[in-house]
């Protein structure tokens, strides 16, 4: 099959339709606006609802009421506005897919690529003790593939699932083979779809009795424990590595080229790429940290995922960090230089 050649934003949009997307709510923000632009044209043609809300806050609350396969997309400032709604969705156990194509922050920041929303996406869905499941594609093909996975996970766990990309992934074009459309078999016994007779269905995150709210929280935490089985990660050239680079998304693409160049120069480098950021592949990072002599984490942030890597490595090896931020993007020569510094650090030790 001949691949399409398309932008990450558009690949996610088309893949969502093919995963059975029935409703999209959103509000434009660079660098993800091609996604709603595509759906505005294509989703109604295929029987779905596209609605541009008056704000991100309105959009996320529309998601709360959809009942069907539903998606919302945004970038940093909009993702912040959605946090309250995401917390309600998590509390009420309403599935949805939320796409965050990260840009430079904090505040209005700029529209260049960044990875500074890692904490916000992985540590908490708004207030309370809720979590998003978080997927981090590194190519247009994987963005397309993980969109399908995201909808399936959202339904399976009745929890919002985030696709955490960045402006670069959203804007770049690559060949992509699109999956065949599916009509998903969904258990929607929870949805308030006007089912007629039977017990009343209530979607709420409100439990005024602390005993009841603690029970709800125990249920959520049990769900996140079960979700550990969804961990995905990929290793590259790790077998005899002294230096393990850990990076996700577009940073991992840049790091992969740097790893190849390091190998060309005789430095035994490899790459660990978390694909799920929550659940985080802690065991994999721990295993690799037990085999290598030093770990180098690189992100387009001032250092966020590095905290999870340090927790996983648990002091087994030194963990160095290199980040660019504010919309600046690291390059293969920069990362190569960091790999060489890490290698010389362990040689000196």
């Amino acid at each position: 099959m001949m691949p399409a050649f398309t932008k990450g934003n558009e690949a996610i949009a088309e893949s969502a339709i093919r995963a059975g997307l029935r409703a999209y709510f959103g509000y434009p923000v660079t660098p993800q606006s091609e996604l709603p632009e595509y759906l505005a044209r294509r989703l109604p043609e295929r029987g779905g609802v596209f609605l541009q809300a008056e704000s991100e806050i309105a959009a996320i609350n529309m998601v709360y009421g959809a009942g069907a396969r539903v998606m919302i997309s945004t970038s940093g400032p909009g993702f912040s506005l959605m946090q309250e709604g995401l917390s309600y969705l998590v509390g009420a156990e309403v599935p949805c897919v939320v796409v965050d194509m990260m840009r430079g922050g904090p505040g209005l920041g700029n529209i260049a690529p960044a990875q500074g929303d890692y904490f916000q996406a992985t540590k908490s869905a708004g207030h309370g003790d809720g979590r998003l499941l978080v997927l981090a594609p590194w190519s247009v093909q994987e963005a397309c593939d993980l969109t399908r996975v995201a909808f399936d996970l959202a339904d399976r766990y009745r929890n919002p699932v985030a696709i955490l990309g960045d402006g670069l992934l959203g804007q770049m074009m690559e060949p992509v083979v699109l999956p065949a459309p599916v009509e998903p078999a969904r258990d929607v016994a929870w949805a308030t779809t006007g089912a007629g007779s039977g017990p009343a269905r209530v979607i709420t995150s409100l439990d005024l009795e602390p005993e009841a709210l603690e029970a709800r929280n125990r249920r959520l935490q049990e769900k996140y424990r079960r979700a550990q089985q969804e961990v995905r990660w990929e290793g590259y050239r790790l077998d005899d590595a002294d230096v393990a680079v850990v990076a996700y998304g577009i940073s991992a693409r840049i790091a992969r080229t740097a790893v190849d160049r390091a190998r060309d120069e005789g430095v035994a480098a490899g790459l660990v790429r978390p694909i799920t950021l929550f659940p985080f592949p802690s065991q994999a990072v721990r295993d690799v940290a037990s085999r290598v002599r030093i770990v180098l984490v690189t992100e387009l942030s001032a250092g966020q995922m590095v905290e999870d890597v340090r927790l996983a490595a648990d002091g087994r090896v030194p963990v160095r960090f290199y980040g660019r931020f504010g919309g600046m993007v690291s390059t293969p020569p920069e990362i190569l230089d960091q790999i060489e510094q890490a290698a010389s650090e362990v040689r000196a030790a």
């Binding site: 690559e174 693409r253 293969p332």
Partner: protein, 186 residues
């Protein structure tokens, strides 16, 4: 390793992004892998436009390129900014209609093509980008002319097939102008 990586740069409106897209899409049509990365932002006609293309037979790591093998410069500021970054032994293609200063490198090969003038002679200055694409393909035959023709036919479907033909003519004109001006890289 990449079969080719390239930065094309110029003014917004000169067709920099389209040049890269035709090249990358042609590579994909030939069964290769390609990435196309635009500079995006509050861009405007007359501002700066940059795009990065990587073509390879297999997996492409970084779509971000700091030290390209090839630079296509459609104006002076782009040449000044990116020429120092081209890898030794690489190639710099300059639109001589837009840039009168020399390329201050002795370790890269330089192809100068009067792209705007040649495009104007073909009927539309906006095809200067395709003249430069032709110059690139003559020096580095990374994709076939046939694949480029297929992309242009796809981009200019009927009733605009005349535009496709005109753009193909600009590409072949650029190839002819470039031949002999540089040795193939491999």
């Amino acid at each position: 390793m990449a079969a080719l990586d390239l930065i094309a740069a110029g003014f917004g409106g000169q067709g920099i992004l389209f040049l890269g897209e035709v090249l990358a899409w042609a590579a994909v049509l030939e069964g290769k892998n390609a990435t196309w990365l635009p500079s995006y932002g509050p861009e405007q006609r007359g501002g700066t436009a940059t795009c990065t293309v990587v073509v390879a037979g297999g997996t492409i790591g970084s779509p971000v390129v700091a030290d390209p093998e090839v630079l296509v410069a459609m104006n002076g500021p782009s040449l000044d900014k990116f020429a120092p970054r081209v890898r030794p032994g690489g190639l710099v293609i300059v639109d001589a209609s837009m840039v009168d200063r020399p390329v201050a490198r002795s370790d890269v090969r330089v192809v100068r093509v009067d792209a705007v003038a040649q495009a104007a002679a073909l009927g539309d200055v906006r095809m200067a980008n395709m003249v430069l694409l032709g110059a690139l393909l003559a020096a580095v035959p990374v994709v076939s002319l046939d694949a480029v023709k297929r992309v242009l036919a796809d981009q200019f479907p009927p009733p605009n097939e005349a535009l496709a033909a005109a753009n193909v003519k600009a590409v072949t004109g650029g190839m002819a102008a470039s031949r002999g001006a540089a040795q193939p890289l491999r």
